[in-house]
């Protein structure tokens, strides 16, 4: 596991950067925000993303993917973070895709993974119940009834709920975690717009499901759920990295140009030291995100590391985006200027699947204290 990108990975990153900067950049995000499409995302962009093969990058070849691994996926997601790209990529590929790969039955993998890889389906992960993500307090929302299952649940903060064709629903019954793949016609969805102008929603399920909808309880309860969530959190951290680095670079650019008191404000040592310290933290972020991605690909145990990655990125993304607004001054507070978008996106990403405090606590527990 080497913490250096190889040539192929650098090419992938650069081509993702080029494509997104052209077609799914911050201007495109603003248009989306001001005029959100009914499905919650831009179908044409989603088509292009699928065409480039990004959806299948981390899915194995046996299931229609490229088998290229999560480091590549993370590099793409990072670029999406830099560009504030809106698409159901996280919900479908990072979240549902990972969940199915980790604890789907073979039949489910055969059915869904090729569709995900081809960008033919939009999926979402429905797991959270309260206003904080907390795996320990999932209510008993699933009960087996002979061969079928009565699933009754109200899931909140389901990313891209409104546009999804199907959902991975994770709940709990007396035997442990239970998960199902449920199609859009089997649920009711209440859509919500979040502070980052993304679509999130409440998904209500109250239905009897046949056994083939059930995901593999064995994998699910022997670490598969935790591993899936760890992978997702590392992926989210990659997006936070992109958000943070972009906010920082825009801010440093502003410091180099903006004049006050007859001087470029970047010449003030007070701001210089804050920027330099933040630069140091962002270098740490780059390294730990790459370490996380490589660990996923290496099949390493992820417990403590994934929470470390998410916690670190949650924290530094807050600082980078907050400093972005503060160092821009008044103009940073206006909606007309883009820097405020980053603070909003960072905070929603942080809270998705556990915020800073959730993961810092988990990291400490995994460290034995």
């Amino acid at each position: 596991m080497s913490l250096v990108l190889n040539e192929e990975e650098i090419m992938l990153r650069d081509s993702a950067a080029g494509f997104l900067a052209e077609t799914a950049n911050v201007d495109a995000f603003r248009k989306h925000r001001d005029n959100p499409p009914p499905a919650g995302f831009d179908q044409a962009l989603w088509g292009s993303i699928a065409e480039m093969g990004w959806c299948g990058i981390a899915i194995d070849e046996a299931h229609g993917g490229l088998g290229y691994g999560f480091t590549g996926l993370g590099l793409i997601i990072e670029q999406m973070g830099k560009n504030l790209t809106v698409s159901p990529f996280n919900s479908t590929v990072l979240m549902a895709g990972t969940a199915i790969a980790q604890f789907g039955t073979e039949a489910q993998k055969q059915e869904w993974l090729p569709k995900i890889a081809a960008g033919e389906v939009v999926m979402a992960l429905a797991i959270q119940e309260g206003s904080h993500f907390d795996l320990d307090s999932l209510s008993t929302s699933v009960s087996a009834q002979g061969d079928s299952f009565a699933v009754k649940a109200e899931k909140r903060q389901v990313l891209d709920a409104i546009g999804a064709d199907a959902y991975v629903v994770v709940g709990k019954d007396v035997s442990g975690y239970q998960a199902f793949i449920v199609t859009a016609d089997q649920v009711s969805v209440q859509d919500q717009s979040m502070v980052d102008a993304r679509s999130s929603g409440t998904v209500v399920i109250d239905i009897s499901l046949s056994a083939d909808a059930q995901m593999d309880p064995q994998s699910l309860n022997s670490g598969g759920l935790e591993r899936a969530l760890d992978i997702m959190n590392i992926g989210l951290a990659a997006e936070l990295l992109g958000v943070s680095v972009e906010a920082f670079e825009r801010t440093v650019g502003y410091l180099r140009e903006r004049k006050q008191f007859g001087k470029v404000i970047g010449s003030f040592q007070g701001l210089q030291h804050r920027a330099a310290d933040l630069f140091a933290e962002l270098e740490l972020c780059k390294a730990i995100v790459l370490k996380g991605l490589r660990a996923v690909d290496a099949g390493d145990d992820l417990g403590g590391l994934a929470s470390a990655v998410k916690a670190k990125l949650a924290q530094i993304s807050q600082r980078a985006t907050n400093e972005g607004v503060q160092m821009h001054g008044g103009i940073g507070m206006t909606d007309e200027y883009d820097i405020g978008f980053f603070i909003k996106r960072a905070r929603v990403l942080e809270h998705t699947l556990g915020d800073f405090h959730y993961h810092l606590d988990r990291y400490a527990l995994q460290g034995g204290y």
């Binding site: 206003s131 717009s193 502070v195 007070g270 008044g330 940073g332 909606d335 603070i343 809270h351």
Partner: protein
Amino acid sequence: MSDLNTFRTETRSWLEANCPESMRVPIRSFEDIYNGGRNPEMSHPDQKIWCDRMAERGWTVPEWPKAYGGGGLSKAEAKVLREEMARIGARSPLDSFGISMLGPALLKFGNEDQKLEHLPPIVRGEIRWCQGYSEPNAGSDLASLATRAEDKGDHYIVNGQKIWTSYADKADWIFCLVRTDNTGSKHEGISFVLFDMATPGVTTRPIKLISGSSPFCETFFDDVPVLKKNLVGEEGKGWTIAKYLLTHEREMISSFGAASGKKTLGQRAADNMGTDASGRLRAGTLRSVIAQYQLDTLAFAATMEKVTAEAKAGQGLGPASSIFKYYGTELNKRRNELLLSVEGESALGWDGEEYNEGEIARAWLRSKGNSIEGGTSEVQLNIVAKRVLGLPDA
């Protein structure tokens, strides 16, 4: 003392007779605050009636001299009036930048004609004022403003642009900093002028913030004529007036830090996230950050209490007062960050009833501006370093 007692008795019965019942109801929204002006906005027609009745006695601004329409009350009498209004829960009849900002400046720096022309309409709530200070290319360096006022004999012609002019779209007149001279240091050549926002050449455009709509505007001046009688103080000496008003403004903004609401953030977190058997918040790492916030809030409140007590005791405003704006606004930002952590993702909603129209998220985003407006935190720290600690310029 018996005079004061008489005053109290008379005031009480006058208020009983003249304060409409509807004006004894607590303020619930921004619209319940009456700002006056040519086209006043009201949530209830009694607002204007109440203001007019109070204005007739000069009691919208009780301590201003009677000559300028004020109440001419002594400090002691004004205190009685406040107490008697509080007794029946009477609302403030009029709030305006004219009262809080321009009035004090005119009383200190204006000439007799200006006081007689402008103060009475402020007292009566007839003219609403806004403040034209900041400019897009000046920012923290307010004194480097570029809005020009060209001398045309009996009047100036003003050209330029202001930003962050609160309620410029609703105000009737503006008090405005303009540059009448380019040759000296940047603090020289600034003048303080007044003009009607209805003058041809004035246009305004509201500013939307990252938190949503706001009272702020951009204001553009395109060949706006301003009579010289509306110059306050000497030409080129407006910076003195500006500094006077800025100090005023900072004191107002620094009150952000005083935590509002009855429940502490810690208790709110305990209700929301639960405590363990020992009574400790379950979210352990969040708990320590909350405790640190509460601790600093307590210490900051003690500091404000101490400075107030010292001032009352005649010891003057100590150096601690210079930290209020800085510390108070940074505390408020911390509070808003922590509220998100306590409330979780449901606080990150932007629209819709379930999310209370994004109330928490919008307040969080709005708080980011606290440490920018009215002098950035960086400028505040510069001031402390130089004026209080005596550290030299770079």
